[in-house]
């Protein structure tokens, strides 16, 4: 037994030293190239850090598709990792040490560490999706999804028969801000509307997501918008079961197989990701906060063709009108600063 343990110990030690040895070597190389300060000769490497799996068919998937577009359109070498909490700084430091030109952090929580490591790695640009801190090689890039949610709110407010609508999502600042947009839109369409907020803690937990949706419907809501990423199917399934309307978010979910989705508030992320990466590649990036909204074609609200005949014509024209006003800047949709 003792012999076996000893053997296992040696085995583990070998594996562990092998791994850490490799890592140190890689880090050593990159810090050397960092000292040389020659960004021009380096290859264009782009990394993406997401708060969840990139296979969530929602928020993270959209950034991943942006990254893939950067790979194909700009010829970049790309990498991605999932990091939350204390792992965020590890991931940012590692990409900085490995000589990445551009590191995206897909969420407000990547803003502060991004600025911190931008100071340590001057040849790497750190960009986070939303957040307010910047430096010369760190900035933010915020999708104004509140605009899409505002139009969704208008539709729900106008079409709700019960006068009650609900929003289901995780309690993070960026999502709460989109809910604010939805509420403003719903109130603009119908001032006495009852807008319910249902907080879920884990979008993967379909048992909870489905219960949340069913409860909202039981309490009278007949329009449900979600920010549940991979858990969205549980929302749509519950809506389908109870015969109420669902509104999709982030991606265009109108052709969802449940058939419950009447419209979607959409982020068209690819062009925005490619644009900012191109600036970085050409050395033109200056940092700063960038708001990407409807005027840049990054946010849209699309109505499902299947439901077109159920939607009143004056509502369609009111939404189109509001879209024009948002693009021209006449209508400013409320959003939180964080």
């Amino acid at each position: 037994m003792n012999k076996l343990l000893a053997l296992m110990g040696i085995g583990f030690a070998l594996v562990a030293s092998g791994c850490s040895g490799g890592r140190e070597a890689a880090q050593g190389n990159s810090s050397e190239s960092g000292q040389q300060n020659s960004p021009a000769s380096k290859e264009f490497k782009v990394a993406l850090i997401t708060p969840g799996r990139v296979s969530d068919a929602g928020w993270n998937a959209m950034a991943y598709e942006g990254l893939k577009a950067i790979e194909s359109e700009l010829g970049a070498k790309v990498a991605n990792a999932e990091a939350t909490g204390s792992k965020i700084e590890d991931a940012m430091r590692t990409y900085g040490q490995d000589g990445y030109t551009l590191v995206f952090g897909h969420g407000y929580e990547y803003n502060e560490p991004g600025v911190k490591y931008a100071g340590q790695f001057p040849n790497t640009v750190y960009i986070s999706s939303s957040g307010g801190k910047t430096s010369k090689n760190a900035g933010t890039f915020r999708f104004y999804l509140e605009q899409g949610f505002y139009l969704a709110g208008m539709m729900a407010g106008k079409m709700s028969k019960t006068g009650k609508v609900a929003m289901i999502g995780i309690n993070v600042p960026s999502i709460m801000s989109t809910f604010k947009g939805f509420e403003a839109g719903a109130k603009a369409a119908r001032p006495d509307i009852d807008v319910k907020t249902v907080i879920i803690t884990d979008p993967k937990d379909v048992v909870a997501v489905k219960q949340a949706t069913l409860q909202a419907i039981d309490a009278g809501a007949d329009f449900i918008i979600h920010q549940a990423n991979e858990g969205a199917q549980a929302v749509f399934g519950a809506c389908k079961e109870k015969g109420v309307h669902a509104i999709g978010s982030n991606a265009d979910q109108n052709d969802d197989s449940s058939g419950a989705v009447v419209a979607s508030a959409v982020i068209i992320a690819k062009p925005a990701f490619v644009e900012v990466a191109r600036e970085v590649k050409e050395g033109k990036y200056q940092g700063g906060v960038r708001l990407v909204g409807m005027d840049k074609g990054a946010i849209d609200f699309v109505v499902s063709p299947k439901f077109k005949d159920q939607i009143p014509a004056d509502l369609i024209s009111a939404i189109e009108e509001a879209k024009k006003k948002i693009v021209s800047g006449e209508l400013v949709v409320p959003k939180d600063e964080f």
Binding site: A57, A61, V206, V207, A221, E230, D256, S257, S258
Partner: protein, 287 residues
């Protein structure tokens, strides 16, 4: 009554898994890999239902997919006498890796929202819910009123006595863990094929671990375990009920409620120990 039906329906995955684990623990084994077994059955259940269009065939594939995990686990814990917690953790990690890899290979790196056919329901409940309710008395009877049950319980309390009485503890533990694994598979299948109508990566979201906790919360008694699952399910029901009706109560209160309930119940009923004496110990280890 509709609220009770809802609680019963949504408590079914933890209920099934916890009832199976009760049998398993009574025989002296701890299945930390419950979560992984549920997740595996959920993925293969969803896959089978999507390909064939028939949730019953999905269920069959889901149950079959857990068989290799069950065999590997028992070879390691019963025969190689390895630590049950370590092996179970291995099963969990393997299940996450395998299901996620297969999911991404099939539906793309960016994932997809999938809809699969679900079980027919009668009065809001499907067959697996009724099966869970029936299983509580069946397991109670089998454990406490049959010779087999006595042997199982003895295998968990004092395996040496079982061996000297001419039974094979290894065989009894294979049987008990087989029941545990099958019910875990049904639990996972219920997640995907009845509640979700979809598969989401890591969709078990800790419910396998909740089921483990419910076994000790229910004091290793089938009715107690089922009751514990329903109580925790009721707390989850209240969490959303109050959010949509009385948002004055902060939702975090209801997140804490199941734990508070568990503590209170354990303070009242938890005197003495009711855990099987040999729980988690490898067979014929030097005590």
């Amino acid at each position: 009554m509709s609220w009770f039906i809802q609680v019963l329906f949504f408590s079914t995955p933890t209920g099934l898994a916890a009832l199976g684990e009760t049998v398993n623990q009574k025989a002296g084994q701890l299945n930390i890999g419950l979560e992984g077994m549920m997740l595996t059955a959920a993925y293969f259940g969803a896959l089978g239902a999507e390909i064939t269009g028939n949730p019953a065939l999905g269920l069959l594939l889901g149950v079959l997919s857990v068989v290799p995990l069950w065999i590997i686990q028992n070879l390691l814990t019963i025969h190689a006498r390895q630590d049950q917690v370590v092996v179970g953790t291995g099963i969990n990690l393997a299940a996450i890796g395998i299901t996620s890899t297969l999911f991404q290979q099939r539906y793309g790196d960016a994932g997809r929202l999938i809809t699969i056919p679900t079980f027919a329901r009668f009065g809001g409940l499907d067959a697996l819910v009724f099966f869970m309710v029936v299983m509580a008395p069946v397991i109670w009877f089998a454990l406490h009123r049959t010779a087999w049950g006595l042997a199982i319980r003895a295998a968990g309390e004092y395996p040496d006595s079982v061996e000297s009485a001419g039974f094979s503890v290894a065989k009894l533990r294979w049987q008990a863990s087989g029941i545990g694994a099958s019910l875990a598979a049904l639990a996972g299948a219920h997640l995907a094929l009845s509640i979700g109508g979809t598969f989401v990566q890591e969709m078990t979201a800790g419910r396998g671990f909740v089921a483990l906790a419910m076994v000790s919360f229910g004091r290793w008694k089938p009715f107690g375990v089922l009751g514990a699952c329903l109580l925790v399910g009721f707390a989850e029901f209240l969490r959303f009920y109050f959010q949509v009706r009385q948002p004055i109560v902060p939702y975090q209160f209801f997140l804490a409620l199941p734990y508070v309930l568990a503590l209170v119940v354990l303070i009242i009923v938890g005197k003495g120990t009711s855990a099987p004496m040999d729980l988690g110990r490898p067979l014929r280890s030097n005590k």
